[in-house]
């Protein structure tokens, strides 16, 4: 089975890249209009929505601080924790079951499954990233927390976590086209993963035996990395960049295979 475009000549990589950029750009614009409309603050909801969640969680955890009393900067702890959850939870949420409603777009030859995924995941990534960034500035300016001690480290950690979120999203998104069970299990899975993801605790606080086990959870390594950049002098961070990157590469590879499988087995209405 093969599908030959322009037989006899290979389309240049640069030309394909130009088309792909154009298509993803068009899909992003379309997504913004269909998802947020042109009412009230429009596409600003993209980051206001995750920001509301994060502020809520930060307030709640700050209130509980009195009870559990540690010298950790609690606002920074909540902000880094919850922003990290958004990264690996919201992006896959956007891609699960996203092929079916967009099937008719496949009638435009340049639009591929990966473009639809890229548009949605980039938009979500920018949303949660902006929310994290804006809240960091906001919380620091009103004195809830200090600015990150090592911004470069915090950004790198977040980017690695975002890479994880994107890969996971693309893998789960493509897999959900194979069976709707993914849709059913993904949501409970995110709830169960929340307490395991390291968002609400520090690895160092766990007993050494348990510490070894939780370090196998990829998200834990990402959160610890980001926190090391934010308030590394207040605690001992435990994370392995190589381990997280290994996950990212593997997941991205599996995602591409699964996207290829989904693309070949599309049945539009």
């Amino acid at each position: 089975m093969s599908d030959v475009e322009n037989p006899g000549q290979t389309p240049s990589l640069r030309h394909s890249w130009a088309i792909q950029r154009r298509v993803i750009g068009a899909l992003i614009m379309r997504e913004i209009i269909t998802r947020y409309g042109r009412h009230n603050i429009g596409f600003l909801w993209l980051f206001v929505e995750p920001a509301i969640f994060t502020v809520g969680v930060t307030l709640m955890w700050s209130a509980l601080k009195a009870v559990h009393g540690s010298d950790l900067p609690i606002a920074a702890f909540a902000l880094t924790g919850y922003s990290s959850v958004l990264v690996w939870r919201n992006m896959p949420n956007r891609l699960v079951g996203s092929i079916h409603p967009n099937l008719s777009l496949m009638y435009h030859r340049n639009v591929k499954v990966i473009d639809i995924f890229a548009a949605r995941v980039l938009l979500e990534c920018v949303g949660v990233g902006t929310s994290f960034f804006v809240l960091t500035l906001l919380f620091s300016s009103i004195g809830w927390m200090e600015l990150p001690e090592d911004p470069a480290k915090a950004i790198l950690g977040w980017l690695m976590l975002a890479w994880f979120g994107i890969s996971l999203a693309m893998f789960i998104g493509a897999l959900s086209n194979r069976t709707e069970l993914i849709d059913k299990f993904w949501h409970p899975f995110t709830y169960l993963m929340f307490p395991l993801s390291g968002a609400a605790w520090l690895v160092d606080a766990a007993p050494p035996k348990l510490r070894e086990i939780v370090m196998y959870v990829p998200m834990v390594n990402g959160v610890e990395w980001v926190r090391d950049g934010f308030f590394g002098s207040h605690f001992l961070a435990h994370y392995s960049p190589a381990y997280l990157i290994g996950w990212n590469v593997t997941l991205m590879f599996l995602a591409l295979i699964e996207i290829r499988y989904a693309s070949r087995n599309l049945v539009p209405e």
Partner: protein, 218 residues
């Protein structure tokens, strides 16, 4: 040119494989107009999807160096919650056209008036067909896939379609699928009949028509 070589397509069903296309071969050059006759369920839509590249064949090869339209008269290629204008912008962006430049032509052909700025879901079937057709003319494909365009639209719309496609764009390729033999006889220079997934060619459109008639009575 578009060439289909030994195309087979089957779908997995609960009761085993459903073989929809069997060893289909087809070549379409610029300027050629081929009509495919077939009853409901003969595999016409599947054939169109494979030509358009929406679906991949189970086996066989597809070669194309022409740009191919989406199946005209098919409104699924549009976003129902967006306005006609937003749909135009989206499609122009995908195909690298300037929407502002295209707008007057689309407004003229689609005759939507103020509905150009209303969501597609408020349109009638005829309005959707006009908009879809107008936008596809803007993109200016080498080959137009036409799936039962006669079913929608009034006489005026059909006349204008014919003028735009067959007169002004006589140099383009056309792939017309219908179960209306009269339409194919009028507009195509070659015809084939699709029965149970097998494509039988006829040099003469009338012969194809007779074959189709004979088989449709079976």
């Amino acid at each position: 040119m578009i060439r289909l070589v030994d195309i087979n397509k089957s779908y997995q069903t609960r009761r085993g494989q459903n073989h929809v296309l069997r060893d289909v071969n087809l070549t379409l050059e610029m300027g050629q107009k081929i009509g495919i006759l077939g009853r409901n369920g003969a595999g016409k839509t599947t054939l169109i999807r494979i030509l358009g590249g929406v679906e991949k064949p189970t086996s066989g090869r597809v070669e194309r160096d022409m740009t191919i339209s989406w199946p005209l008269a098919f409104s699924g290629a549009f976003q129902q919650s967006l306005t006609g204008y937003d749909n135009l912008k989206f499609i122009c962006r995908i195909y690298g056209k300037d929407p502002e430049e295209a707008l007057p032509a689309v407004e003229d052909f689609a005759e939507l008036g103020r509905y150009m700025r209303e969501p597609l879901k408020t349109y009638s079937a005829g309005m959707r067909a006009r908009l879809g057709f107008a936008i596809s003319l803007v993109v200016d494909f080498d080959c137009f896939l036409i799936d039962e365009v006669v079913a929608v639209g009034d006489q005026r719309f059909q006349d204008r379609c014919r003028e735009e496609l067959l007169v002004k764009r006589a140099d383009r390729a056309m792939f017309l699928v219908s179960h209306n033999p009269g339409f194919i006889r009028e507009n195509c220079d070659r015809a084939a009949v699709l029965t149970n997934g097998t494509l039988v060619y006829f040099d003469d459109v009338n012969e194809a028509y007779h074959h189709y008639q004979a088989h449709s009575l079976e």
